[in-house]
Point group: C2
Chain length 438, copies 2
C-alpha cells in the first residue's frame, strides 16, 4: 500500500504528531514524532516521522501495528511579525549572503521541501536580535547544500563579498552549509586580497525548526564579529555544546571535526581568533590578527581546477597517482601518514608526476602537527622526488591553496615558493602550545 | 666540494659534536649537534647534523662560515651488559614481535643506517624493566617503516601472533612504526578470531637515541598490558606529553592524531580501555572489554586487496570513482563530508559502482561522530544508490574491514550485513559522552 493511502485511511495528515508502534522480529518499538511528507525518494511504503531529537526516521507500513494521533497539525503559522527595517543611523551596516545549508533553511511540513528562510522579514522573525547589532542587507546568492559547492561558487561568493565590502558595508556574513564550510573559508582567504573588513562564514548543525538549533546564536555571534575590528576571513560557530559562547576561527585553520555536535568546528594547530560570549562581549584570544582598515578589497580568483586531494593508505596502488598524471592534473595534494610519508612504492609515480610538471604537495592525515620530510628515509626520498612539504597546513587548505597557486603559475619552483608563503595565516611559523585537540 | 673531503680538511669525524655558523642572506645562524654520516640521498655537498631536539638538519657546505668541534665522538659503546635471560618461574611469558619503525631502531652513527635493536640483549640493555614484568621472547619478523606495511605484512603478523598465543605465551607485544599502526591494529582486530589473550601494538614517536624518547615507557606499559586480563587488540602509547601514564586504545578505534607529539594516539568516538600509570598500576577505564580466557586463537586472513579509500572534496571529479570501477575494484570506502555526503555529481558514478557489484561504504572526514544518511537529501540519494553507512567507524578501520569482509563474500547484501556487524568494537552502538577530542 502506498503511504498516502495508508495515512488517509487512518485519518492522519502530514504535520500531525503521532505515536507509532512498530513490530519487528517479534519486538515492539514505540516512536513519537511529526508525520513528514512522503519523500520523493522513498519507495512509497514508508511513513517518515521527525523525532523530537530532530532526526527523521522511516518506518515500513507493514511493520506498523498501531498509529495514533497525539496532536493534530497546527495550522501553518503565518508570518505576522513585520520587522522594522528602516536603517538606524547609529548602527553599522552589514550584508548577509545566503548560500544555502541548514542555517538558511526550514522544512515546509506540507511539501517536505527545504526552503530558504531568507527574506529580511524571515530573518528578523527568526533572529530579531541581529537588528540590534547592525542594519542588515540580506542577499540570497543561491540555495545549495555545501557538499555541492564548486570552485565556481567560491568565486561568486568572493566577488559578492568584495562588492559588498567596497560599497559601504562594515562586514559580510555568509550563511553556508557546514559540510564544506572549511574549504570555502580557505578559498575566500586566498581570493580576497587586501582584506580590510571582517568576512564571517556561519552555519548551523541543527536546523532552526529543531529545539536544539544553534542557528540563532551562531548568526548573532557572526553578526557581532562582522562589525568587529578583525579584518579576516573567519568561521563563527558554537564553541561548546551549550550556548555559552561561539568561537571565531581563522578561515585557513578551521575544520569540521564532528558530524553532528554543535561545537564541531575547531582550529587546528592554531588558537581561535576570538570568543564571542552570549552576552555579546567579544574576547580576543590573540592580538596578531589583521585589523580593520581602509582600502578596496579585490578578488584574485584565478584557480586551476585540475588539482586532486589524495589520502594515502597501506595497500594503495600507485596506479591512482599515475591516473591523475595521465588525466592532465596539474597538482596533487597528498594526505600522507605521520610526518608526511607515503608507501615507498608510490614514490616512482610521484617522481614521474613531478618530472612531468605536476606540483605534488605533502600534508598529514594526522591533521595535527607539522610535516617534516627530513626525519626518515621515506621523507628524504619524497623530498628528493620533488615533493613540497606544506608545514602545518591542513590538507583541505593546502588543496584549495594549490588550486589558487596553480592559477598563477605553472613553474614548479614558483609554485613551491608560493605554497610556502604565508598568505592568510595558513602556516603557523612555530608550533603553539595548547593547539592540540582543543 | 663533497662533504667527506670537507670534513676531513677540518679534522671533523662523524659522531663529533660541533658548532656550525651558517651565513645566508647576510644573516648568521648557529647550530649545534652531532655530525651524521652523509646520506646516500644528499647531493654530497651538505653536512647533516643531529640537533639536540633529535631532528636532523642539512647545511650546504658553501654556507658554512665556521665549524668547530665541541666534543670529539665517543668510542662506540660496546654492549657490555648481558641480560639474565634464564626464565623466572614466577613470571608470565610473552613474545615481542619486531616489525620495524622508530621503536625498534637506533641510528648507527658510523654508517647512518637505522638498524634494529632487537636481540634480547639489546632490548634488556635498553629497557631492563620489562624483564621484571615477564619473561620475554623476542622475535624480529621484519624491519620496515610502517608506511611500507602491506596487507601481506598484516597477515604475517597475525599468524605469528596466533602462533605465539597458542604456544604458551600470555600475550604478545608488537613493536611497530607509528605511521600506520592504527591500520595494522584494525587488521589484526578483524583477523584474530576467538582472541583469548592480549595483543598489544606499541611504537615510539622519538627514537631511543633521543633524550625525549618515549620508547622505553611505551614498551614497559605495553608489556604490562600484555600480561593483563584484556583479551583485545590494543595500541599502547603515551597518554600525555609527560611520562605520567600510557593509554591502551582499542585497535579498531585508535588513530594517530599528531605528527610528532608523544601523546599522538587517541581513541576516536570511544574511551580508551585502560590507563597504565608509570608506577605500574593499570586503571581500567571501562569494564566492557573482552576478558582473558582459554581457547585457541585462530586467524581469518582472507582479504580482498582491490579496495580503495577515497576522501571526497569540493571540485572532485567523478572520473576518480569511475576509474576504480573500471580497474576492477571490489570495494570503495568514501570519506564523505559531514554526516556522510559527497558532491551530488558523484552519485551517478557511485550508483554505477554499486550496480556493477562494488561495495561502497560511507564514513566521515570529520572523524568524530556518526554518519547518518537519513537527515539530508544528499544522504538519502546516496542510500538509494546503495551506499552502506558505516555508523561511527573510522575511515581507516572501515577500509581495513571492507577488505576483510570482501575476502569472505561478493554478495552486496551479505557485505552490508557484515559491515554493520560489530566484530571487534569498531562500532559504538550509541554515542558516548567525553569521546570528542580527548
Ligand atoms: N549537508 C549540509 C549540512 C549543513 O548545512 O550544515 C550542508 O553542508 O549544506
Ligand atoms: N615513519 C615511521 C615512524 C615511526 O616509526 O614511528 C614508521 O611509521 O615506521
Amino acid at each position: 500500500m502506498r503511504v498516502e493511502e495508508f495515512l488517509k485511511q487512518k485519518g492522519i495528515e502530514v504535520g500531525d504528531y503521532v505515536r507509532i508502534i512498530k513490530v519487528e522480529d517479534g519486538e515492539k518499538v514505540e516512536y513519537e514524532g511529526i508525520v513528514m511528507p512522503p519523500y520523493e525518494l522513498s519507495e512509497g511504503d514508508t511513513v517518515v516521522i521527525k523525532l523530537d531529537n530532530g532526526y527523521n526516521i522511516g518506518i515500513a507500513i507493514e511493520k506498523i501495528q498501531e498509529i495514533n494521533v497525539i496532536e493534530k497539525a497546527k495550522a501553518k503559522p503565518e508570518v505576522h511579525f513585520k520587522a522594522e527595517l528602516e536603517p538606524r543611523k547609529e548602527l553599522p551596516t552589514i550584508t548577509i549572503l545566503g548560500t544555502g545549508g541548514t542555517i538558511a533553511s526550514r522544512i515546509d511540513y506540507e511539501t517536505g521541501a527545504v526552503y530558504p528562510a531568507f527574506t529580511a522579514e524571515e530573518l528578523a522573525k527568526a533572529v530579531p536580535e541581529i537588528f540590534e547589532i547592525a542594519n542588515i542587507k540580506p542577499k540570497l546568492l543561491f540555495n545549495i547544500f555545501s557538499e555541492d559547492m564548486k570552485p565556481k561558487h567560491w568565486i561568486e561568493i568572493a566577488h559578492e563579498t568584495a562588492k559588498a565590502l567596497n560599497s559601504g558595508n562594515e562586514g559580510v556574513v555568509i550563511a553556508h552549509g557546514t559540510d564544506t564550510m572549511g574549504y570555502t573559508a580557505a578559498a575566500l582567504s586566498f581570493m580576497l586580497r587586501n582584506l580590510t573588513k571582517p568576512v564571517v562564514l556561519v552555519g548551523a548543525q541543527r536546523s532552526s525548526d529543531r529545539p536544539s538549533s544553534d542557528a540563532a546564536m551562531n548568526l548573532i555571534c557572526a553578526t557581532r564579529m562582522a562589525v568587529s575590528d578583525a579584518a579576516e576571513v573567519m568561521v563563527v560557530m558554537h564553541g561548546e555544546t551549550s550556548d555559552t559562547y561561539c568561537l571565531a576561527h581563522r578561515g585557513t585553520k578551521v575544520r569540521k571535526m564532528h558530524t553532528s555536535r554543535r561545537d564541531a568546528f575547531r582550529s587546528i594547530n592554531d588558537i581561535p581568533i576570538a570568543k564571542i560570549w552570549s552576552d555579546g562581549k567579544i574576547e580576543f584570544l590573540r592580538d596578531d590578527y589583521r585589523k580593520r582598515s581602509e582600502g578596496e578589497v579585490w578578488v584574485d580568483d584565478k584557480l586551476e581546477e585540475k588539482v586532486a586531494l589524495v589520502k594515502v593508505y597501506p595497500g594503495m596502488s600507485a596506479e591512482l597517482i599515475d591516473f591523475l598524471v595521465d588525466k592532465g592534473y596539474k597538482g596533487i595534494v597528498i594526505e600522507g601518514t605521520g610526518l608526511g610519508h607515503t608507501p615507498s612504492d608510490l614514490i616512482p609515480s610521484i617522481k614521474r608526476a613531478v618530472d612531468e610538471g605536476v606540483a605534488v604537495c605533502m600534508t598529514s592525515q594526522c591533521l595535527y602537527g607539522r610535516v617534516n620530510l627530513n626525519v626518515y628515509a621515506t621523507g628524504r626520498k619524497l623530498l628528493k622526488a620533488g615533493v613540497i612539504p606544506c608545514e602545518d597546513m591542513l590538507p583541505e587548505t593546502a588543496y584549495v591553496k594549490l588550486m589558487w597557486v596553480l592559477g598563477h603559475t605553472n613553474d614548479l619552483r614558483e609554485a613551491k615558493k608560493m605554497m610556502l608563503t604565508n598568505y592568510a595565516g595558513e602556516i603557523t611559523p612555530y608550533t603553539k602550545p595548547n593547539t592540540f585537540l582543543i
